[in-house]
């Protein structure tokens, strides 16, 4: 058994998971920014913005991620000619980040909105009553309190995002699951071992992530 001692395989393994980490990191940042904006739209007093936020969530939350990623590649790139990088791998990476971000933003938005609903309406009323604007009320009073009840759901969204990142393999990025498939093709006698190593690597990253967010949520819990 020289699968996991062969330097070529180790390089492939490491680079596969590095792509997963990069996809997760970049998409998490984009999805967070986008998700906060969408949530602000969904609670805003402006009907057009509310409609836009609602439409976004309904479209992307109810479309399979595979379709979203395929659309980024075949729709945005192949058909509409949107190229995000000259390097083929980087282009696929950024197309993947776009797909993962717009999809995950819908879940981030809903997590934030449910968090906003845990903040008593009196908090926003008191904020408006001293003359804070809608944006100030959200930024200074509502979101900081919502954030604390949003931490735990964010953990779940992040974990799902990390696993979803493997779907970018379908548009040609050699990330972890693609590396695994290639290794299985080369080492048909070690399928179970290969599978366990890759699944174990995901678990080794994600189980502590889950516990970390749980711990953070408890630490930040708001006193009432």
């Amino acid at each position: 058994m020289d699968i996991f001692t062969d330097p070529t395989n180790i390089d492939a393994y490491v680079s596969g998971f590095l792509w997963i980490l990069k996809l997760t990191g970049a998409s998490a940042v984009c999805a967070l920014v986008l998700g906060v904006l969408l949530a602000a739209m969904r609670v805003s007093p402006v009907p057009v913005l509310r409609g836009f936020g609602t439409a976004w969530v309904n479209i992307f939350r109810n479309t399979p991620l595979t379709l979203v990623i395929f659309f980024c590649y075949f729709g945005l790139y192949s058909t509409l000619g949107l190229s995000l990088a000259d390097d083929l791998n980087l282009n696929n990476f950024w197309l993947g980040v776009v797909g993962l971000s717009v999809y995950t933003a819908a879940f981030v938005c809903e997590a934030i909105r449910s968090g906003i609903n845990t903040v008593p309406t009196g908090q926003a009323e008191a904020a408006r009553a001293i003359g804070l604007s809608f944006a100030q009320t959200l930024r200074i009073v509502v979101l900081p309190q919502a954030a604390r009840s949003v931490v735990a759901p964010f953990g779940s969204v992040l974990i799902a995002l990390c696993k979803n990142a493997t779907i970018v393999g379908t548009i040609g990025l050699v990330e972890a699951s693609t590396v695994m498939k290639d290794l299985i093709n080369s080492y048909g006698n070690a399928v179970i071992l290969i599978f366990l190593v890759f699944a174990g690597t995901f678990a080794a990253f994600l189980i502590p992530t889950g516990y970390f967010f749980g711990w953070l949520a408890n630490r930040l819990a708001v006193k009432r």
């Binding site: 008593p120 009323e125 008191a126 904020a127 003359g131 804070l132 100030q136 604390r148 006193k223």
Partner: protein, 248 residues
């Protein structure tokens, strides 16, 4: 007491919650420095009336004028108007994630752009005035109800409002804490603050109010000086209401 043009004017105000007519053709004017106490059975629309004055409740028809200007629609102008009208809620609504002092200085710093150091100094003076300067660095949940409500009054006063609205400020308090809040309100009234107070505290209405408004079923039924209202209520509704609350 009253000088010049009235500060708050409601003219034929109507509001519905679905089929429920919560404000039925209400007209009222409150002069500068006047203390108006609004009483009435629950569901009579008195809280809605109070909340309509700074447009926390939008109205369906009629006009509300504050300091000579009609209430603006949602936006910057409304935020400015609200900063000039202090509001005290039944459930205090102190910002749960901010300390007592931060609650008081938030408006001056964020809305008025005051320097934090100056706002802090003024905030501490206000907390001292309502008797809770020693609680400045605690969070709201660590204070008693009475202390929280006094902090909420200090938060409203920090904006140097032209008028103060009180929406049942003592209804959520344990009985032994009602006095400390009423004391602060009474001293405010004496200093000439324009106040609209929705309350069930008849003692406060008697000794601190210039006028008592009695509401029932969304209508403004009586508007009289407290001595006159408590001694000779004109309407049957008011007589009935007073007989129920004053015999115990």
């Amino acid at each position: 007491m009253t000088t010049g043009e009235p500060l708050i004017v409601l003219d034929s105000v109507n509001k519905w919650f679905g089929p429920l007519h919560v404000l039925d053709d209400v007209s009222l004017s409150v002069g500068r420095g006047e203390v108006v106490v609004v009483i009435g059975p629950s569901g009579s629309g008195k809280s809605t009336l109070c909340r309509a004055i700074n447009r926390l409740e939008p109205i369906n028809s009629g006009t509300i004028t504050f300091d000579g200007r009609e209430l603006p629609a949602e936006g910057k102008a409304l935020a400015k108007l609200r900063s000039e009208v202090g509001m005290v809620f039944q459930s205090f609504n102190l910002f749960a994630h901010k300390t007592i002092l931060e609650n008081v200085t938030l408006g001056p710093i964020e809305v008025r752009g005051e320097k934090p150091a100056a706002a802090r100094e003024r905030g501490l003076a206000l907390l001292d005035r309502v008797g809770i300067a020693n609680q400045a660095d605690k969070f709201p949940a660590m204070l008693s109800g009475g202390q929280q409500q006094r902090a909420a009054i200090a938060r409203a006063l920090a904006m140097q409002p032209k008028a103060m609205l009180f929406d049942e400020p003592t209804s959520a308090l344990d009985p032994e804490m009602v006095g400390e809040v009423l004391e602060v309100m009474t001293s405010l009234a004496r200093e000439g603050m324009t106040m609209v107070v929705v309350t069930h505290e008849m003692g406060f209405a008697r000794h601190a109010a210039n006028r008592v408004i009695f509401m029932a079923d969304g209508k403004l039924v009586e508007d009289a000086a407290p001595t006159e209202f408590f001694a000779n209520p004109r309407s049957e509704r008011a007589k009935d209401f007073l007989s129920k609350i004053l015999t115990h």
